[in-house]
């Protein structure tokens, strides 16, 4: 058996308690362990991506119990891609955070490793109940990180965030229970086989369970009408944590892509593609709501949060078409929007700590230290996020517009994506000109309260923006990988075979 697959979960799971127990009083050692672990995670992600790139699906049976009785981890192109994205974003955000954010509260590094572990587990698991457990792991870590550093507003937003996610967890359990009661399995591959055979009398239960699960993933992915928690949470969370949370909305998107292509795809009989009619209007409404929010935002953090909501709308509108070309475009855009969203929140932090008394509010104030460089970063981040040429957002949106042409809703997607991009461009242009351009007319220079440590944050933000540049330069290979991933998703027999063995079920 190939033991590489379990390492992305095992490594942070061992390093996190080590940091919490052994080196909690030594911030330098904690940083060393945390960075080393995340670097190793990135290396592991690349190795696993190399293993999955040729199209093999590898299954890892924990404790050597055969599926569907034991629990399995499954590695395919999609999970490998998500692992690499998570480790990359995690490493860069960590570089940003070790410049002081990690000392504003306790246990930052161990919570950070637990969060990475939960996200990796959610990407790798082949079992619903384990998906629930890994969701809880990443949520518990995110509750701690969300209120890291404290402060009244942050704690209040944190309570709201915990409450909405606890409701989401209860719904998740109800949905899993419903699916188990009609199919008798919790294994995703096994479920895919059994969904087609569900008795006509149980179809209503099956649909209810599957759509409740869609609602749960929609809460994670911040889709309208359950998007309202995101701006309050992300705008009030510590900026590096908000940047890392850019991957958490993608966990919801990943779960939607995985479940509704694998189990409720073409082979699902009466339940085939049952997510599509619900997902499409929700995604388009999310896109519109996000971009209108960008226009209406009064703080830079809010603007970035609404931009993330808008990008989730774009991504899931392409997913909701459920065709291979649209899915390939969606996967490319997913990689792009994770990097761009993370970069945007890091830029928000660069601005906030340089404007004492103003923070990230969109007000005209005297010039800031390193104004030119920060403004340049914001300009690049805004170009990436709104999808203007030459960065990868443009390529991603172009691929999406091209990929959805065959859909019956193509006109709607085109209209909403293009109008949304225009709104986002206006919103970001307004924000940037208020913050950076109008301030240059005022006299004086704003002095930040504390001492700035500019090197690592600039490196981190630069790395993320550099990654979007690389995604643009190597758009060909990246789109190629996305296409082959989409092809694998729409032909799930290899996945099912890898998990259940060639014999499949005997009963």
């Amino acid at each position: 058996m190939n033991h590489w697959i379990v390492l992305p979960i095992l490594l942070p799971a061992l390093v996190a308690p080590l940091i919490a127990l052994a080196v909690r009083f030594d911030i330098v050692l904690a940083r060393v362990f945390s960075v080393a672990s995340t670097v190793l995670l990135l290396a592991l992600g690349v190795i696993l991506m190399g293993m999955a790139a040729d199209g093999t699906v590898t299954s890892y049976a924990l404790g050597n119990w055969p599926a569907p009785f034991g629990i399995v981890l499954v590695l395919d192109r999609l999970s490998a891609l998500m692992l690499v994205l998570n480790a990359l974003l995690g490493l860069v955000v960590l570089l940003h955070a070790i410049n002081g954010w990690d000392q504003r509260g306790r246990h930052f590094h161990s919570l950070y490793q637990f969060l990475l572990m939960g996200v990796n587990g959610a990407f790798l698991t082949g079992d619903f109940f384990n998906l629930f457990v890994f969701f809880e792991v990443l949520l518990i870590a995110s509750y701690g990180l969300m209120v890291h550093g404290g402060g009244p507003e942050r704690v209040r937003a944190g309570v709201q965030y915990v409450a909405i996610n606890l409701v989401g967890s209860s719904l998740f359990l109800v949905a899993v229970g419903l699916l188990y009661s009609v199919t008798g399995t919790l294994n995703m591959a096994d479920l895919a086989l059994r969904v087609a055979d569900v008795a006509p009398g149980d179809q209503a239960l099956l649909r209810t369970g599957a759509l409740l699960l869609l609602l749960v993933f929609a809460i994670k992915a911040a889709l309208v009408p359950v998007q309202f928690w995101l701006p309050g949470t992300y705008a009030n969370a510590p900026a590096p944590v908000a940047a890392l949370f850019a991957i958490m909305t993608k966990v919801g998107a990943y779960a939607i892509i995985r479940l509704y292509t694998l189990a409720f795809g073409a082979a699902a009989g009466e339940a085939a593609w049952l997510a599509a009619p619900w997902l499409m209007p929700a995604a388009l409404a999310t896109l519109a709501a996000g971009m209108l929010g960008v226009l209406a935002a009064r703080r830079l953090g809010q603007m970035a949060s609404f931009a993330v909501i808008g990008s989730m709308g774009t991504l899931l509108a392409a997913v909701a078409v459920f065709t291979e070309p649209a899915m390939a475009a969606a996967l490319y855009y997913l990689a792009h929007s994770t990097l761009a969203g993370g970069a945007l929140f890091l830029i928000v932090d660069l601005v906030t700590e340089r404007r004492p008394g103003h923070g990230d509010a969109l007000t005209v104030a005297p010039r800031i230290v390193h104004g030119g460089l920060v403004a340049g970063f914001f300009f690049l981040g805004a170009i990436a996020m709104t999808g203007m040429p030459p960065l990868s957002g443009f390529v991603g949106k172009l691929l999406i517009l091209d990929g959805v042409r065959a859909s019956a809703h193509a006109v709607w997607i085109w209209v909403v994506v293009l109008a949304g991009s225009l709104l986002a461009i206006v919103g970001f242009a307004r924000g940037g000109s208020t913050l950076f351009w109008k301030s240059s007319a005022l006299d004086g220079l704003m002095r930040p309260a504390g001492r700035l440590h500019p090197v690592l944050p600039f490196v981190a933000t630069g790395l993320l923006l550099g990654a979007t540049v690389l995604l643009t330069v190597f758009a060909g290979p990246a789109a190629d990988y996305a296409e082959r991933t989409a092809a694998q998703l729409f032909h799930p027999s290899a996945y099912i075979e890898a998990v259940l063995g060639t014999a499949g079920r005997t009963d």
Binding site: F129, V133, E136, I140, Y143, V147, G150, G151, P152, E153, V155, R156, A157, G158, V159, Q160, V162, A163, L166, V167, S169, S170, L173, V174, V176, G177, L178, Y180, S181, L186, G232
Partner: protein, 117 residues
Amino acid sequence: MEFLVASAIAVMTAAGVYLLLRLRTFPVVLGLGLLTYAVNVFLFATGRLVVHAPAVIGAAGGTYADPLPQALVLTAIVISFGMTAVIVVMALRAWFECGSDQIDLHEGGDAPLRERE
């Protein structure tokens, strides 16, 4: 017995949702508690209701209770217990730091409770 279990789930869910919508931390915590009880009983029912049967398949076969939902309920109880502890601690901290037990965020917002007292 089906009616008893179903109505118990329904009453607990309804009460839980009602308390959640009060949007104050104490009712919300109680509501989440009721909701998780409802979910736990519901998970039991997903393995079909069987009375006086072991959770293992005996050598002679015969009736048995589905053990998997019981394992799931155990896990769900542990997780929901931990989560309740987390939200209680955070609610307390919110109360001490901002003097408010509102769950929803309004800009400018409602007057904190303590000021009204």
